[in-house]
Symmetry: C3
Amino acid sequence: MSAALPERASDLLDGMRRRRPRVHCLMNGVVPKLVADGLSALDAIPSMTSSPEEVGHFVARADALLVNLGTLDAQRREAIGIAVSVAAERGRPWALDPAHCDYSPPRAAFAQQLLTRGPAVLRANAAEYDLLSVPAGVVAVRTGKQDRIAQNGATFSVANGHPLAAMVTGTGCLSGALIAAFLAIETDAFMAASAAMLIFGVACEMAGKTASGPGSFEPALLDALAALSGDHILQHARIAHEQG
Amino acid sequence: MSAALPERASDLLDGMRRRRPRVHCLMNGVVPKLVADGLSALDAIPSMTSSPEEVGHFVARADALLVNLGTLDAQRREAIGIAVSVAAERGRPWALDPAHCDYSPPRAAFAQQLLTRGPAVLRANAAEYDLLSVPAGVVAVRTGKQDRIAQNGATFSVANGHPLAAMVTGTGCLSGALIAAFLAIETDAFMAASAAMLIFGVACEMAGKTASGPGSFEPALLDALAALSGDHILQHARIAHEQG
Amino acid sequence: MSAALPERASDLLDGMRRRRPRVHCLMNGVVPKLVADGLSALDAIPSMTSSPEEVGHFVARADALLVNLGTLDAQRREAIGIAVSVAAERGRPWALDPAHCDYSPPRAAFAQQLLTRGPAVLRANAAEYDLLSVPAGVVAVRTGKQDRIAQNGATFSVANGHPLAAMVTGTGCLSGALIAAFLAIETDAFMAASAAMLIFGVACEMAGKTASGPGSFEPALLDALAALSGDHILQHARIAHEQG
């Protein structure tokens, strides 16, 4: 079964470049540009507003939604509530990134509550992940040295990646946005999330080969995402699969 | 007549580096740093606050104003109203960028209303442009593969540019800021907007020669804007002119 | 005495990489990512939220605090008040950066008021600095061609640096964040601030050697901060010291 993911991810990458889904991101105020540029590099079309007056219009036009909890205030909470409701009405898939919920109990409580509102995927690092209780059916992505994607007892582990990614603020948030982008073109959320993490990991490895530090890693990562083809995925994927 | 623009733009670029106008930008929350860095690369002096309590003080000290509608919320609307009033009182020119108004009817309505408050220039992509009715006298810039600058039946078309610019979030917003910067030093708004678009297009071409993707295009664009001289403009301008 | 700073800064840089302090930044909306990436490049751990509901939790977990006044609105003022109170309760040191207070009288008044609440260090450029009255005991850092760090009549002057830094928005804000990071690991605030400015100046010089303009300077600066060792500091420091 583990052979299936690289082929599938390769096809999905080609599909992304052809279909160009719109992805609306409720993003923190720190890394919106990196996330938008990363989506554009894969030929997805990002939008980013979080004003309550407008977010419903933007989500209604999007093919998928990312809800990232970084820099969370009252207005952003309101906007998230509206966005998730519109996504539910329109049947749009969404991914939840509870960024930094380990720093703030109210943020963790808000993340837990959002998990009951039907995200297709949760993406979190280990510290965030360990605080949350993931409902059955939600695909759970735990990122780290190895990224682990799990649903109903089945798991993929992706070993691709590069240590410099952890030194660039927002690479984790970008991986969450890529998950949302693949949800827009693949109804199997487990496959969409796994493909996103594999593609992101291979891009990080490519970037690491030319970067001389975290500063040059970031433009190299965007160049890699833009240059990446299905063949790169087939050649470089390092994954493991366990059936539950 | 079309020969006049490159010479004029070349002079204005030299004037920009000498005079260093202050440009206040009511910017979205996604790309303020790229816009500030792009203005600085031309030796203009950017400022970016959008808090209603402070924006009037900042606009009063600025030589020109950019109003960009990205990520528009109630506070930003209030700040925009104050900024436009102060600009009118002080006789400061301003440019309007109705970013993403095609995604949100209230944003389009707000853009239309702002067009009645006396901007010197409107800058919009085709989707945004087609939604709006531009009052007579406002210079209308429609960006795309070719940028088209029009006023009272006269038009310039600028063919300079590079496809990678479209993959970098905020390059359109930056071109709007450059228009505002040239408005600060040139009272003929048609010439100011045309010079800005020509200079930006030539810088994009320079950047495209060294970039290996959208990630490396962005620093290369800032380097090009900083390195660009009047001579580059004269050598590389590709424009057309029609008299109405 | 002036020989002591390079050795001390060299040791503190090694300590920073080993101890990895958490630094919470109340940042403007323009350059939070550069500041976070710069802290990460020195192996400090940044966080950036400014929502009043959450900032207390973040500051309580941080080892030091930066208060930057860029893009100041009512919510950010409230968050700053909470953050400074929590820092005082927990005995956490903090640095104040009154960014652009020379543009806005209410911002200057707010900065003056914050100076009475016990920051360890003030960092300002000349225009901002000249507006403020620095209480005795607060370390005063005035940045410019030469950076000058003063307390109780003693001063260090750091001549390291590079002119391209002034063309990149947020490098000044980043130097303020590095001061906060060194406050987290060095109780002598005069030494912490001096080490931060020296290390930042040497990194700017390293970056200037490979950059071809302001665009390529920024990733080169982050690469330099990540690559910098205590030995670089000892070899390249250009400082002067005056005892009061």
